[in-house]
């Protein structure tokens, strides 16, 4: 080949199959977010409660300190309640711009001009947020349980609490899955990540306020189904086999979660198209 012709060469390689396209989107999104120092700092802060609780757990189980509670299913349920705040922060930071920024930058035609499908795109975006939410929500509680097993002086803790690991995984997966699908769906409704972030906070806050208000005024406990926080509490009671103080059936809360997921998937299906058709 003459030297002047080196500027463009035909590529001799072969293209990989379609199975991993969503992973390409997920990996790129994860790498991009990890390149932001502020976000990495937020991730690190999200783990602070883990270390505090691990220290408490160590003091109770190894040193026999009395802290007014014992290490059982309720301890891990409470650990999830503590991780809820980091979950919200990471959801807003990492999730609100996931699709909104692509819409703002008109990136969808570029994605879809390559051999990827709508499902690949959505799955890739979901994987990004689900990865980080798992990291700040499920992993700390799961590691806390593993730590408890590790430092327990005998097998008594394992015999009594072996099922808790299923509660941790089941409840965590439900919350992470629902939150991921919801924020990605919400992100597809606007071209501004900030608007999506504000909308997320507004939905969570106002839906909770309305649910609690209607419950008080109408004295109908089922109105709490409008409150995201009440639903999460009820579901965690259900998963961790705790007696609930809320008069709300867990199936109602599960149905609300299913509705949120259904709305988000419907929105994604409508909004994620290579061309915007205005008939």
């Amino acid at each position: 080949m003459p030297i002047y012709d080196l500027s463009y060469r035909h590529w001799e390689g072969s293209l990989l199959g379609a199975g991993r396209r969503w992973m390409v989107i997920a990996e790129a999104g994860i790498r991009l977010l990890l390149s932001y120092k502020k976000f990495v700092f937020l991730l690190m802060l999200s783990w602070v409660p883990f270390f505090v609780q691990a220290f408490m757990l160590y003091m109770i189980m190894v040193k026999g300190a009395s802290m007014g509670f014992d290490v059982s299913a309720g301890f891990f349920q409470n650990a999830y309640a503590v991780q809820l705040f980091p979950l919200v922060l990471v959801t807003i930071y990492a999730g609100s711009g996931l699709i909104a920024s692509d819409l703002a930058a008109n990136a969808l035609p570029l994605y879809f001009s390559k051999p990827i499908t709508q499902r690949d795109y959505i799955l890739g975006k979901l994987a990004i947020i689900a990865f980080f939410l798992t990291l700040v929500y499920i992993m700390p509680v799961l590691l806390l349980f593993i730590f408890a097993v590790g430092v327990s002086p005998d097998m008594e803790f394992v015999k009594e609490n072996y099922w808790v690991i299923l509660s941790i995984l089941g409840y965590g997966a439900l919350v992470v899955g629902m939150t991921s699908v919801f924020i990605v769906g919400l992100s597809s409704t606007s071209r501004s990540g900030r608007v999506v972030g504000v909308a997320f906070i507004a939905v969570v806050t106002f839906a909770g306020m309305i649910g609690n208000l209607l419950n008080l005024v109408l004295r109908m406990s089922q109105m709490l189904a409008l409150s995201p926080n009440a639903n999460l509490i009820r579901l965690s009671d259900f998963f961790f086999l705790q007696e609930s103080g809320l008069r709300l059936h867990p199936m109602v809360s599960l149905s609300v979660a299913a509705l949120v997921i259904a709305w988000s998937l419907w929105t994604l299906n409508r909004r994620i198209r290579p061309v915007e058709v205005v008939a």
Binding site: H10, L16, V24, A28, A105, S113, I116, R273
Partner: protein, 322 residues
């Protein structure tokens, strides 16, 4: 044959954008010309599988565009008309990412991204964030991402949009190089006649979703209808009316120069006959070489050619016959 369409019809709701289009495009560079709304971009988007035809079928490189759009996209590089990038990435990461989306391995995609960025003239700016790029640079990076997986066919939708004259020329040189020296077939969609004439050998003229003219540009320009510039002394309006009554098309420019397009098979004798009929004295008669503009205006109807939707080429060279 790179593209073959049979009775393709595409609609946006009730509005028909492409109407019963039957078309065959051979290898090399083909220009898609037409005023805004003619269906140029819609055609590309339909072939890529972005839009579903309501009727008809099509094959690109012998692959059915309706049943296997992903296979089609593996072989096509698409440079969209609208400005677009993936936010937060620098140029080389962005282009490599699009390569991975196309199915390239990460290392291959990264190596190739450096190559194509150098090729399109962004080698020095490859580590800059795409968000900071000028319009011209964004056009180039769109071309780079279209080339990343070494497609067999390139779809370029208005590739010179927003570029300054020098950048535009460089982009057209790249387009010409790709089709002529790199042997990649391309479809250049543009409303700029000059761009198509410079970079393509074949042209397809669209109007309201249908093909009104297609073929080799030089052959189309060597048109069977002769065009003359006429200036003279006497009653020009009557002279003009006589010519129009005999089926000629006559346009008058600002310098009162008449541009007469004769009917097929006629020659300058028709003009002299019309002049003699009403005592008009012909003092200047120049045979015009057909430009792509003439072909285009002839194809879409002259009344649409002088609107703001189409930018025409520079005036063509004249050939003195008398």
């Amino acid at each position: 044959m790179i593209l073959e369409l049979n009775g393709l019809t595409v609609a946006y709701g009730k509005k028909i954008a492409i109407r019963d289009m039957t078309l065959k495009l051979g290898e090399g560079a083909v220009g898609l010309l037409g005023p805004n709304g003619a269906g140029k971009s819609t055609l590309l988007k339909t072939v890529l599988g972005f839009l579903t035809p309501v009727a008809g079928s099509g094959r690109l490189l012998d692959m059915d565009i309706g049943s296997d759009p992903l296979a089609v996209r593996r072989q096509v590089g698409y440079m969209p008309e609208s400005e677009g990038h993936i936010p937060g990435m620098n140029a080389v990461a962005f282009v490599a990412f699009t390569g991975e989306l196309a199915g390239m391995g990460r290392i291959d995609a990264m190596a190739r991204a450096h190559e194509v960025l150098s090729y399109v003239g962004l080698g020095e700016a490859r580590y800059r964030s795409v968000d900071t790029y000028s319009t011209g640079m964004k056009q180039r990076i769109k071309l780079a991402q279209a080339l990343i997986h070494d497609p067999k066919v390139l779809f370029l939708d208005e590739p010179t949009n927003g570029m300054d004259p020098a950048g535009r020329r460089e982009m057209l040189d790249l387009v010409r190089d790709i089709s002529q020296r790199k042997k990649i077939s391309l479809v250049l969609c543009s409303h700029l006649l000059h761009d198509v004439e410079y970079a393509c050998r074949e042209v397809v003229v669209l109007k309201e979703g249908t093909v009104v003219r297609s073929g080799n540009i030089e052959e189309l320009k060597a048109h069977r209808r002769q065009v003359y510039s006429v200036r003279g002394k006497g009653d020009a309006s009557t002279f003009r009316q006589v010519l129009q009554a005999s089926g000629c098309t006559v346009k008058e420019d600002r310098d009162r120069l008449l541009r007469v397009t004769l009917q097929e098979g006629e020659d300058a004798q028709r003009i002299f006959a019309a002049a003699s009929q009403n005592g008009f004295q012909v003092r200047h008669l120049t045979r015009q070489r057909m430009s792509l503009e003439d072909v285009f205006l002839d194809a879409i109807g002259a009344e649409e050619g002088d609107g703001e939707t189409v930018q025409v080429a520079d005036a063509s060279d004249g050939e003195m016959v008398n």
